[in-house]
């Protein structure tokens, strides 16, 4: 039956004992031949392992080039994946821009075409359209060069009264036509002449410029 101290041999050899415990074990070593034999055997094993370790320092033939090829291939695949991902992102972004651009241009074109539709009443250039009683809901819009004024909103009233000024609001980005005044606010105003109705057309968007023009009456 071995003394319990013998169990501490590897702890001692590996440096796991405290200083006091190490000293106590060294005393045991002096008296235990079995432990001294184990200690000698373990020391030769450690020497051989260290020798074996330094002797094995090369990879099998061809393994280096195989590993390098494998790592390079992995690096190329990774690079290709990154490029593909970046291209896909760029293509998606471009597609979104093109789609958005075409939607906006179609929107603008539709509004322009609606404004230029032949079905609209177009009396002679620079004339004030129509006439009607105050109860008539028809509106009049000054024409310029035979086309409805798209960018400028001019309010005129033809009466015998003295000229008045009215606000001319310039909102180039908003288009309001007789056919589609939905982008503006239309306000009928009575005049002295029952045959003439004055129409205020405000763009729904906030106007950027306000200019006063005389009203010829």
């Amino acid at each position: 039956m071995k003394p319990p101290e013998c169990e501490q041999l590897d702890d001692y050899l590996l440096g796991w004992l405290s200083p006091a415990e190490a000293i106590a074990f060294e005393h045991h070593l002096l008296e235990c031949s079995d432990c001294r034999g184990e200690q000698a055997l373990q020391r030769s094993i450690d020497r051989l392992l260290a020798e074996d370790c330094s002797a094995i320092d090369a990879l099998p033939a061809g393994l280096v080039s195989r590993i390098e090829d494998h790592v390079c291939a992995a690096r190329r695949r990774r690079r290709t994946r990154l490029i593909s991902f970046a291209s896909a992102v760029a293509a998606s972004a471009l597609a979104l821009i093109v789609i958005w651009g075409s939607v906006v241009s179609r929107w603008d074109r539709a509004a322009f075409e609606a404004a230029s539709a032949p079905g609209q009443t177009e009396p002679s250039a620079n004339a004030v359209a129509g006439a009607g009683s105050d109860s008539d809901s028809s509106t009049r819009l000054e024409l310029r060069d035979g086309k409805p004024v798209l960018d400028d909103f001019v309010v005129t009233a033809t009466t015998g009264a003295s000229a008045k000024t009215a606000a001319k609001q310039l909102t180039p980005s908003t288009q309001v036509t007789l056919a589609d005044p939905s982008a503006g606010i239309v306000l009928d105003c009575k005049t002295r002449d029952p045959d003439i109705t004055m129409v205020w057309i405000y763009p729904a968007a906030k106007s950027t410029v306000t200019e006063r023009v005389p009203i010829h009456q």
Partner: protein, 183 residues
């Protein structure tokens, strides 16, 4: 990465050989280790920790492979009990001395987990904490296994010297080939 490869590839290969037990699997393991290292090299902040980091990758990859093959339970069960698996350490045309051959044979006669721990301690000089981290076990488990491994190795060598018994684990720790129904 090239420097890492040049410096540590042989050591990683040796450890992979210890884990896998076959040259073919060990080579695959080394390849995958360095591919992983390339992928995650930004995680390596301290160059002095590179060796332990590479060994950890190798051990983790090996465990993943075992899990995929459904062999992890078998390995865990065999931590303390496993038949001999002779690891074909490279010899490179050198004549291996008889005493060296006997030491290798003694290590091969240990249970798998003890072989791995002994390898990391004796061949790579990793500390207990580093070995614990590489293998994903506690430091106390490493300490106990290492102590036991050294005792068993000495016993194996004495047995080899005596020529009385082959280098196999003691019958008490060997798994039965088939489970006998208890009656």
């Amino acid at each position: 990465m090239k420097e890492l490869f040049a410096t540590y590839a042989p050591r990683v290969y040796l450890f992979a050989l210890r884990l896998a037990g076959s040259r073919h699997e060990a080579e695959d393991l080394v390849q995958d280790t360095f591919v992983q290292a390339l992928r995650h090299q930004s995680r390596l902040r301290d160059a002095t920790a590179a060796r332990a980091w590479l060994f950890t990758i190798t051990a983790n990859l090996w465990r993943s492979r075992l899990r995929r093959k459904g062999r992890e339970k078998e390995v865990i069960r065999d931590v303390e009990q496993m038949g001999t698996r002779s690891v074909p350490l490279p010899e490179h045309g050198l004549i291996v001395r008889e005493d060296m051959r006997r030491v290798r044979e003694a290590i091969n006669g240990l249970p798998k987990r003890q072989q791995e721990i002994l390898h990391l301690h004796a061949y790579e000089s990793f500390s207990l904490a580093e070995i614990a981290k590489i293998l994903g076990i506690s430091a106390e488990a490493v300490k106990a296994s290492l102590s036991l491994a050294r005792k068993r190795m000495r016993q194996q060598l004495r047995d080899l010297d005596d020529g009385s018994r082959p280098a196999t684990p003691s019958p008490a720790t060997q798994l039965p080939a088939t489970r006998q129904p208890t009656t």
